[in-house]
Symmetry: C2
Subunit: 324 residues, 2 copies
DNA sequence: ATGAAAGCGCTAACAT
DNA sequence: ATGTTAGCGCTTTCAT
């Protein structure tokens, strides 16, 4: 591996100038710059990251901690994060906590020590722990808020309200909500936003659950829907998918007998029969934004950004009491 | 952040001794060791990885490149890799290629520059590119073989043969094989192993496909099964799941009318109705093994390890012409 | 605009 | 068993 010294010699300049040519090209005369670049090119020079880190204190690494990968939410998230990292010439250090707060804390500690910052996606640790973590290095939370820590939030709460508005506009007043996992922050947000929206239309949100956010739970839920409900909003895609299936098995037609919508769209709900009205959630953007935020830590004031979801009205929602 | 010099001073020894206490505790007298450890503890000393990397040439980083995360194969794989990395105090640098050979090569180049080695999972690049990559740094392949490059292979080929043997023992002679994605190395291996196994029983493997390895393709495939076949082996779980559903829709019962098996078990095939006979694939072990292998590069001779799958006979396979 | 030199924190000969 | 010393490759004052 050629070093900067090699490049400098090859270009007939000092190491300092060669270094400047890479870091601050504006401080170097055009012809010199050219010569250094050519030399670097010719030798296939790659700056040694460790050496750079030692002097600058920045490693170019970013810790990304997720609770799991076995969930379609995290794949686009990671992709978005990767893109943003690439754009700033950084790399992602991955940690999977498996929803274990202790493991999460250990990973954060270990990765954080070596990274320029940490992105914690839907962290399971308690507020105190997260605050302590954030004191030691730049941290950006995704899909979780803790005091005024910088965070990127997917606004599925407003989205759920939109879903309810959409149903209310169609004429629904009694709407069931299939609640997500117990203790889930996102679920609480969606539910209360939905309740508020329903109330605004003199309607009511009948909550069922909490339920595990799985296909099977959705299937089972089909047998226990609030009798009054003419429409259902499911906490997520899996639940909606299972419900759609369970409803079919029970002889109920969607949307003729019951309208159905989901508060995310992570499993191609547009391809079911009928296609299911859902919320398009900008997950990749959230990943990208979180990464670029944590990289700019210090530069910008900490803040929480809510990323809006987009309502995708599809065939599964229609007027109540819809004739065939 | 306290440095080694601080620890040394606190313990009343030289930096060298302090360093040895961490790296080679056996070279330090017990009481000294004790003092250094206490000092480090007291100060909350964390070795600076960059500095260490600069002297040793080892970063403690490992590149892990996968084609996607949106596939249940990669989640346990990454978990296994993470565990092995943790055990050796290394960290994982993640790269997702999205099945793009060029992107894969770029990621490998960029991550590899900074990592002690690279684990390429089911890489999509051509042999030449992979060979070139492996010349520049330690590389371990997972689920792909290229010449004599070190590799960890999940032996679903033998597993598929076992599946066919299992069916043949039950009396099946005409077995359909739902082939996976075109050009897939794994698919070719499974198919030809299955053909061989069928031939060994004077049976025949009727190949359908190539097919995209998706649920939908499985559903569709239900309408185009070889008429003679009394059993079907699907390339993977998704195809099997879709097929199961498609068969049900077509009024065919499993296993009464048709036996069904899958060459992996990534989607809880044991929980369907009926549960589907499948291959339990040790994916996490593969990830862990690949990581520990690449870390020992140089120490051990390069080799390919085949990890055996385990046949899980379940309710979906029975004798042909089985009376209700 | 460029160069000389110091130093980031650590490890590894080499002495003792 | 421990200390001394010389870098690893880079960035960054500080001079010029």
């Amino acid at each position: 591996m050629p070093t900067l010294a090699d490049v400098a010699r090859e270009a007939g300049v000092s190491k300092a100038t060669a270094s400047r040519a890479m870091m601050r090209p504006d401080m170097v005369a055009a012809p010199t710059l050219e010569r250094v670049r050519e030399a670097a090119q010719r030798l296939g020079f790659q700056p040694n990251r460790a050496a750079r880190a030692l002097t600058t204190g920045r490693t170019g690494l970013l810790g990304l901690i997720v609770p799991t990968l076995a969930n379609p939410f995290f794949s686009p998230l990671v992709l978005g994060a990767q893109q943003a990292a690439e754009d700033t010439d950084s790399h992602l250090l991955l940690g999977v906590s498996e929803y274990d707060p202790e493991r999460e804390a250990v990973l954060a500690e270990r990765l954080g020590e070596q990274a320029d910052g940490l992105v914690l996606v839907a962290p399971v640790g308690d507020d105190r722990t997260l605050r302590a973590l954030a004191r030691r290095r730049p941290v950006v939370l995704v899909d979780r808020r803790v005091g005024r820590l910088p965070a990127v939030v997917l606004d599925t709460a407003s989205g759920t309200a939109e879903l309810v508005h959409h149903l209310a506009r169609l004429g629904h007043r009694d709407i069931a909500y299939l609640s997500g996992p117990p203790g889930s922050w996102a679920d609480r947000e969606r539910r209360s936003a939905g309740e508020e929206a329903a109330a605004a239309h003199d309607g009511r949100l009948h909550v069922r659950g909490p339920l595990p956010p799985t296909y099977d739970a959705g299937v089972a839920a089909a047998r226990d829907l609030p009798p009054a409900a003419t429409a259902v909003v499911a906490y997520n895609s899996y639940l909606a998918l299972g419900l759609l299936h369970g409803l079919g098995a029970a002889g109920l037609r969607v949307p003729e007998d019951l309208s159905l919508a989901a508060a995310d769209d992570l499993t191609a709900l547009g391809a079911t029969d009928p296609p299911v009205t859902a919320l398009d959630v900008p997950v990749a953007e959230a990943g990208a934004l979180a990464v670029s935020r944590v990289l700019q830590a210090g530069t910008r004031p900490a803040a929480t950004t809510r990323l809006a979801t987009r309502l995708q009205p599809r065939g599964s929602t229609t007027r109540p009491g819809h004739p065939d």
